[in-house]
């Protein structure tokens, strides 16, 4: 089992690790010859959520070498916080960075080497960070797949995330930690957030939002040009467009969704009525989908 590579976009990798650590502490990292995938789970009494991040290798690595006895796929369990901190330490001043899978004192580690050069001294500094990891067998991860969700009743591009974040903070304070927030929307540009607390009922409504075309499968197919995913090909009737889809989520989960979304350049939310909320976060510029995050949150029964 071998993995080594130079990292040319350490900030993207760092951002992904940081975003995942919002949701959980331990992540499953899967390396294939094409992609790096990270997954984290979060489960509480009332809700279940999971987050999948996929980065195509050329977006972060230069000349990666990945090999294993199992179709050159490597599965690791990694501490997300440590990974994030290690990558963040590179700052903006690094000249080169690399990552490799090693074994020290019998413990497998991801070893990240960052060299920096300060303009003043012209001295090179070399920072080596070893992150202890656990190697997972293909059997251990065989059952782990992205959740399958029904076709969402509403797909909507989330409004300005700073504003959404500010409003969400107030909502969380009003409903408290175990509070519930209802999110509903339709395919004619409406998105609403609602709370119903003892002393106050609050509803925020956005209108005129974009409703991207929904693909048939549970994954996200995003295409800017003519959609060829829409097998049905039918224009939704006005009545269908106005129909509201509703999910109810734990206030903390919603706050996490908004924080995770804030990492993106554009964010599409799927509302699967009474079933789940799926957020597709595109981390790179329009057009390229080299780095994406899918965040699934189950809805409580309304």
């Amino acid at each position: 089992m071998k993995f080594r590579s130079d990292i040319h976009n350490i900030s993207l990798l760092s951002k992904v690790a940081g975003t995942l650590s919002i949701v959980g502490k331990i992540g499953w990292l899967q390396l294939t010859p094409q992609t790096l995938q990270l997954r984290v789970l979060s489960a509480t009494e009332s809700s279940q959520s999971q987050l999948w991040a996929t980065i195509s290798l050329p977006a972060i690595f230069t000349d990666p070498k990945i090999s294993s006895a199992h179709n050159n796929i490597i599965n690791l369990e990694v501490p997300l916080d440590t990974l994030h901190r290690s990558l963040k330490s590179a700052g903006a001043s690094y000249t080169s960075a690399s990552i490799k899978l090693t074994k020290k004192e019998g413990i497998p580690r991801l070893s990240i080497v960052i060299t920096t050069e300060t303009a003043a001294s012209m001295n090179h500094a070399r920072i080596v960070q070893d992150i202890p990891v656990r190697v997972l067998s293909p059997q251990a991860v065989a059952h782990l797949t992205k959740p399958v969700v029904p076709k969402p009743g509403c797909a909507v591009i989330l409004p300005a995330l700073n504003q959404l974040k500010g409003i969400t903070e107030r909502y969380v304070r009003m409903v408290g930690v175990n509070g519930r927030i209802v999110v509903e929307g339709n395919n004619s540009g409406v998105l609403r957030m609602k709370l119903d607390a003892e002393a106050v009922k609050v509803e925020s409504e956005w209108r005129g939002l974009m409703n991207p075309v929904v693909g048939e499968d549970g994954g996200m197919e995003w295409e800017d040009d003519d959609d060829n995913n829409d097998e049905e090909g039918n224009e939704e009737s006005t009545q269908e467009k106005e129909k509201l889809s509703k999910v109810m989520v734990d206030s903390r989960d919603w706050a996490k969704v908004v924080r995770v979304s804030a990492a993106g350049k554009r964010v599409i939310a799927w509302l699967c009525n009474n079933h789940s909320l799926v957020v597709y976060v595109f981390l790179d510029e329009e057009g390229d989908n080299l780095a994406t995050i899918n965040y699934y949150v189950s809805s409580m029964v309304v």
Binding site: P159, A160, L161, N162, Q163, L164, K165, G166, I167, T168, E169, R170, R173, M174, A197, E198, A199, V200, K201, V202, E203, S204, E205, W206, R207, G208, A262
Partner: protein, 385 residues
Amino acid sequence: MTQNPAPSSAPGPVFSAISSSTRHIYDLLKCIGFMPIANVSISADNIRFSVEDSHSMQANVCLTPELFSSYTYTPATAYLEAGAAGGAPPSSIEQFDLEPDENNVKFQISLSALLECLQIFGADGGNNNTGGGGGNNANRPGGTSGISGRDNIPFGRQQQPFFGNPNLFEQNSLRLPGTCRFVYQGTGFPLSIILEDAGVTTTCHLTTFVPPSSIDLIPFNRTTLTHKIILKSAFLHDALLELDHLSPETLIYSVSPNKKPNFSLSATGILSSATVDFSSNNKTVMETFLAHEGFVGRYKFGLVRKAMRAMGVASKVSLRGDGEGVLSMQYLVEVGEKGAPPTFIDFRFLPLNDEDEEYEEEEEGEEGLGGSGGGADDYGDEMME
């Protein structure tokens, strides 16, 4: 329901007001945000929010029509008479008349929820740092991080009106597009706040509760007024901040007409005690000093401390005591445009039962009026009769 029956025939809301800036309203209400529940009373003259703590302290904020771009109060026909009385526009003091008015619309709401709602307006995850939200100890200042940076003003320096200095506010006070509408339809309806801001409309329905049958106002007896002091609020704030370091239980508030110091505040902690004296001669400190007789009052420090946020935002404070030892503090807050009438925040404190007579003795035999004031500001002059 012990309230008046809903005016079923009323053509529109009983109360409706529009503001293009919730910031001022938020900053004023935040001054009494140390309690979670407020009593609300609406009249043609103002919408008043009152809180009380431990039956020993009350605080009131009156939002006058000047704070809104439109302010409509349409009580049920039966009450029209009261609303239509008084032809001349009332003076600011009259607007701040706290005496109970049976005709006003009254209810209770969650003040902490209202404060959260007002922050949704212009909410921006980036620099929204107002926090707080009515936590009981939220406004206990800690050193220089106390109240909105007011502490940085050098002692004794001429202080600018608080609302005129943008540095004293959180940064997003300058970013306020959109509108905010208050609507109350009548008994049994919520108090609704509709915030329209940058593409999003937020509607908050604050549940209105029937207030206790009588909201006992701490009585302040003007006929037994012992003294009136008007000073820059910053000095009172600094004095209390100083004493607060002792973590005292009790504040001793002394006024003496003839003897120096004319006005002092003192407190005793576990290890030490401290006194802050104010000179009535120094006009930059004390604008008005009028005392008929000596006055010593002991108040729960923890309650007086709750007025510190108001001290931080106000430019002046009028301190008065009556024959029963009730202490009234009226904070003058300059809001909005230059020349706009100021807003007042009123605090009243009941004295602690004083077993200890020594302070009384000290003041014995002092009579007469030690006046050093007058002051150009007519705020509160009527209170001197």
